[in-house]
Amino acid sequence: MAKDLPLKIEAHDFSFYYGAKQALHSITLGIPERRVTAFIGPSGCGKSTFLRSINRMNDLIDGTKTDGHMVVDGVDVYSKDIDVVTLRRRIGMVFQKSIPFPKSIYENITYGLTLNERPSKSDLDSIVESCLRRSALWDEVKDRLHHSALGLSGGQQQRLCIARAVAINPDILLMDEPCSALDPISTGKVEELITELKDTYTIVLVTHNMQQAARVSDFTGFFLMGSLIEFDRTRSIFTSPSKKETEDYITGRFG
């Protein structure tokens, strides 16, 4: 399948536990660089857990543990000497619900940049503009950069969150059902954005919307009850799935 492409993220026998409950069962897959990879599956199937394991957001939950390896750029992110903060700066994340900070649009974008250093005002200005342009938001908000980000519409907020994630210049963008709270028009804009961003970033997308996976992704993985059932080029998954469960799911027989 994707053997010909360089892999950005690799999971080897990766398992995940919430306390005693196992949420992921020995996942093994490779996510190719600068492509959009989508994970689909019914709710509770583990696709979000897998996504959040890549940048170790699951660490925030008490009593979780992992098994196997999650490798990003050839390094196991769960090995002892890995610094979570640095890891997360290389991996941007966009959440299901847009979560702008209760600050101005400008401050939202510059938040990640000013954590470690103090870039000059002109640097910040140009980064803000370029990020907002990339997320197709510039024309809509350029006159109110210093207004509260909470005044934006839901779709604009989500694109702002993407711009904010892009601002710290990560290699990878994780998106956890980024459009589930959006109307179809906003969804369209975000999808368009994803397609544009994939030239620069490795994008991993979790969605419950199969059409979305089919529209924007190059590769698709199907999760069921904590296991990866099938992983292949999106075209193959949707036209000729090799597993019966996958076929049942994409043809709407369950889920």
Partner: protein, 303 residues
Amino acid sequence: MMQTSSSSMPLPKRLIGFFAVTIAMTAAVAVLGIILGMVGSFISNGGDGVTWSFLSEFPRNNNTEGGIWPALAGTTFLVLLMTILGVPVGTATAIYLTEFAKQDSWFARSVRFAVNTLAGVPSIVFGLFGVGFFIQFMGNGIDSWFGTTSFGDGSLLWSSATLAVLTLPVVIVAVEEALRAVPRDLREASLALGATRWQTIVKVVIPNAVTGILTGSILAVGRGAGEVAAILFVGVTYSSESIPSAVTEKFMHLGYHLFVLSTQSPDVDLTLPLQYATTLVLLGLTFLLNLTAILIRSRLRKR
């Protein structure tokens, strides 16, 4: 295009973060330490003094010997009378706020504002209010209208009334929280069965909120039992030959007793063991009351 590279976090920033979190933790530990130190010092210094005779005897020899029985009894009478006077009003207010008032109505907002204000008024001001309103106005008014002589002076009654006013916000907040925890479905189910609003409140809402009324009362009692400033000149006395037998009598009070023993008596050092023992009893009492309320409340919240 201008982009800063994704850099790793510089060491100083990391250290600041680590120290800041440590400092926050230290603050929490320090506060806990103070509490434990306080309680520990009271227990180690006063533990031996709390005996049955200490609890059951009258003070002797100008408060330098003997026990605290009249103070214990006076405090109990005080909080009981306070509960009788205050809890019904507080409960009714909470019922009004949750069951009747439109949340944005001018009246409901005023009541809420008043309740919050009342909670912030210094207790000494309640004491002045007790003098100015209950004793001077009500008491003297009753005396001059009915020809009595016993109301125009500080007493158990006026102290209880003052504390009832002071603890009103405590009751209202606790009961309101409990009433809000009663699921809306339950009310709607009752109304849908043809019950009137009052029937719903009496038969459905109040039974479900009994724990809240209980918590509110306990918290109010805990507050009232330890409150000294508000009753300083509304009827408390530092020595009494008997347990009050009428609401118009003066009474002894645990907190005031401690205050008098530790600051007003001629030989403070002599009575130090008594002071520690009194502190321990007073603290134990309020501690138990508050703990009970916290436990009931946390059970309520879980449900």
